[in-house]
Symmetry: C2
Subunit: 101 residues, 2 copies
């Protein structure tokens, strides 16, 4: 189950506009095959998406799909720096209930 953390640093005052792009397209992402989690968060200078995919093939299909292309196009003029997308693996430790997305 690859975990993805995507960080979108936004230009000043543009966080809500970026969130509206995600509001428009997150429902389609949620319906993609193998999408277990696609949770959008906001902070003062950024939007952060925490994702969980059933397997690498599902993540690959999402990465090539129309919803992500629409999101990337929608936010491209609103970024303070290039989007940072980290593909990660969970590491088991401590309490399993509190260490697993």
């Amino acid at each position: 189950m690859p975990i993805v953390v995507a960080t979108i640093k936004t230009q000043p005052g543009q966080t809500e506009t970026v969130l509206n792009v995600f509001r428009a397209h997150a429902p389609a992402v949620h319906q993609e095959d193998g999408c277990l989690l696609y949770a959008v968060h906001s902070g003062p200078d950024r939007v952060v998406v925490v994702e969980n995919w059933a397997d690498g093939a599902a993540l690959d299909a999402h990465s090539r799909g129309p919803a992500l292309a629409a999101i990337a196009a929608g936010v491209s003029d609103l970024l303070a720096e290039p989007m940072d997308v980290a593909v990660l693996e969970p590491v088991a430790m401590g309490d399993p209930a509190k260490s697993t997305l």
Copy 2:
């Protein structure tokens, strides 16, 4: 429920050493009051912790507590750049089951 995403960019070859610091202290964090999620992930150049706290007071207590101090001390010489800690709010959209940590 504040969500925290902490990104630790690691020096080359040091990711496993950083993970061992988290393995030593994550069990204590999981027992802190109001810790709902403290999930550690690894990638080629980083360790990313996704956290969920019951409220701001719980996060404040964690931020001042001994477990985080021990983690910060343990990884301080292993960082490629300063640790990035983002305090975020979840944004509801789409399928609730797939948009909430």
